[in-house]
Subunit: 169 residues, 2 copies
DNA sequence: ATACATGCAAACGTTTTGCACTTAG
DNA sequence: CTAAGTGCAAAACGTTTGCATGTAT
């Protein structure tokens, strides 16, 4: 699987960012299997919605998907219901941005990752922090807390926006 | 201030958890000063809302405050506007829960802290993780990201709940 | 006295549902 | 053919605003 050395350092650009197509195909397969298992029907709308999700590298909201696809016979409600279905299938995860609005991302069968969220351009950069996970584990053990999940978001200004800022002066 | 040794280890029960009253008084003072500076008026409603916030140990939403105070001449809209004002005064911070609903907490003039959230009893244990902050700083510098804020929540089962679970068997 | 604060009701934006029509299997 | 899927419009939901009334200064 993710065969490259799993050392203890930070991994800024995780290995799974490569080979995205194989990954996308795997999701599409699970998507189909879920339909069969649940007696659901594949439609062009659902396929387009999943495609959109698989071809984006950031967390999208319902409207973004709707706007991108509305010319192609996909309604807002369908996007809503497809996203709901995809969540039930555990293929998409719902998160919320800093204003509390819902955003979605393809659920990754891959190492847990944290987020660098740019407050200017909204871009979300994903990062793996194995060191931090280790520290968490140790502390949790010490205080008798059993960790099941964690959310770690760092907000600030990304490289590009900072460059623009200084250029604008 | 927080005079105790600021070493690099985890601090499970930070020093500022003691002396909560002094802390509350400080906030009330800033609250009053903000009113004077801005030419605002102190009202019983606003005082009650601030008191409620100061006497709770978890992140509350508008409705919780409203329900607690509606018998005492405090309307929903007033809670809303008071919270808005408190945010402008930098005394209250607005966050969002996992469903995207707004929640509020008194803004702490104290070291940044992270949260251990028990999914069973809902209790939130606060933790300082200076080691983790260090790692963040280093990574952010490496990728050219300027960190302004971070949110770090670890979910799981707390010591007490786990004890209860095994006892129940 | 006079701004500022309050609370009702109504506007708002987003998410969700009811229902008649369409379509994949 | 028929149960599932779609899309419109409308309900539901939380948040926010307009305006007449109340009140701290």
């Amino acid at each position: 699987m993710h065969s490259s050395a799993q050392h203890d350092e930070l991994v800024y650009f995780p290995s799974w960012t490569a080979g995205r197509n194989g990954y996308a195909d795997r999701i599409r397969q699970l998507f189909q299997e879920y339909h069969q298992k649940q007696g659901l029907r594949m439609t062009k709308q659902r396929n387009r919605i999943l495609d959109y999700l698989l071809n984006t590298d950031h967390h999208v909201d319902m409207n973004e998907i709707y706007n991108a696809l509305k010319g192609h016979g996909v309604g807002k409600v369908t996007v809503f219901r497809a996203l709901k279905m995809l969540q039930e299938a555990k293929l998409v995860e719902r998160v919320h941005d800093s204003d509390g609005r819902a955003r979605y991302e393809v659920q990754h069968e891959r190492p847990h990752h944290d987020h660098l969220v740019c407050v200017q351009c909204g871009r979300i950069q994903e990062i793996q922090w194995p060191q931090i996970e280790k520290i968490q584990d140790k502390t949790c053990k010490d205080v008798g807390f059993e960790r099941t999940f964690h959310r770690h978001e760092v907000s600030g200004d990304c490289k590009d926006c900072r460059k623009k800022n200084t250029a604008a002066k």
